[in-house]
Symmetry: C2
Subunit: 187 residues, 2 copies
């Protein structure tokens, strides 16, 4: 049975290095929101930092600017419909958690809902910076944990079923699962 | 037979949206260099911008700061060994093109060698910015083209063989090919 297991913070970059699509959760005045973000990646190893590119018009952007924190999680193939859906409507129009019946749990170090069923989760605190004028939000990862069946001991162990692998969005709802392992010659 | 076909600049973000590992080529005073970069992604649609995170100690970083331009290309599975190798040694120590027998061709709009056999290529001009203090280099894509068998008409058409798909590096030479297509419900 899968469990949420902690990832050493200095190794949390391993969760994002392969470029998966993310779900960004945020909250303001007790009201949570979630959106999809393909433009997210590591920025530094230790202390671990990530960058996420956000649209200034997005409610997520406003929430993060106000609260200074957000959740970053990696959806799997089985969550592709939900991932596309939450990336296609605004939290100003609907409560996406209710509309798409998204099950959440409380974060450990931030006041933001985190989404059940993902491959990995990172709790992030914004590092306010001039880069935000470009839509680039820099944050420090303050907690990281994974689904123990998919990632443990600093390595991914993707199952054969693409429904349980991380996903990579191209456009118009077309995702690719993280695919076959190719081991390069490291001698 | 595969050919290099141009991609409309406003659609060049489609090449990077799924988070593949990249190869960054650069040149200074007529001497070229190449390194691997997993931390690269789109920043904007039109005009198209990308961001690449670079180590200040890297020769690539110095080349780009001096010349103001770089090539960004997406290696495929068959290039995993080379991609790992050029990410593991410095251009200050060896001429990586010679050492790894990397075949190049001349870029169209910049003075940087581009690498044959990739899935897609972007020619980029640096937009100098304060973000560079974080190692975040912002650039405009001034030319983009793809292998016509893998990407055409604004869509990826990955063949079954992972050796001809784009790749996503985790760590220690472990790459994952871009995998199975998962079409989300877009109604």
């Amino acid at each position: 049975m899968s469990q949420k297991v902690p990832v050493e913070l200095a190794k949390s970059w391993l969760l994002m290095n392969h470029g998966p699509t993310t779900l960004v959760t945020s909250s303001c005045d007790g009201v949570g929101n979630v959106m999809a973000a393909s433009w997210a990646m590591p920025l530094d190893y230790d202390p671990p930092k990530v960058i996420v590119v956000l649209d200034f018009d997005a409610l997520t952007c406003q929430n993060i600017e106000k609260s200074g924190e957000f959740g970053l999680q990696l959806p799997v193939g089985a969550q592709a419909d939900m991932t596309y859906a939450v990336g296609s409507v605004s939290g100003r129009e609907v409560n996406k958690f209710e509309k798409y019946k998204i099950k959440t749990f409380a974060a450990q170090k931030i006041s933001v809902p985190m989404i059940e069923g993902c491959a990995a989760w990172m709790e992030c605190k914004l590092l306010p910076d001039d880069c935000q004028k470009h839509g680039i939000f820099i944050a420090e990862v303050v907690a990281a944990y994974t689904d123990s069946e998919i990632f443990s001991d600093g390595r991914w162990h993707f199952p054969a079923d693409p429904m349980h692998r991380t996903i990579h969005h191209t456009a118009r709802g077309n995702f690719y699962a993280t695919g076959e392992l190719i081991k390069a010659n490291v001698d």
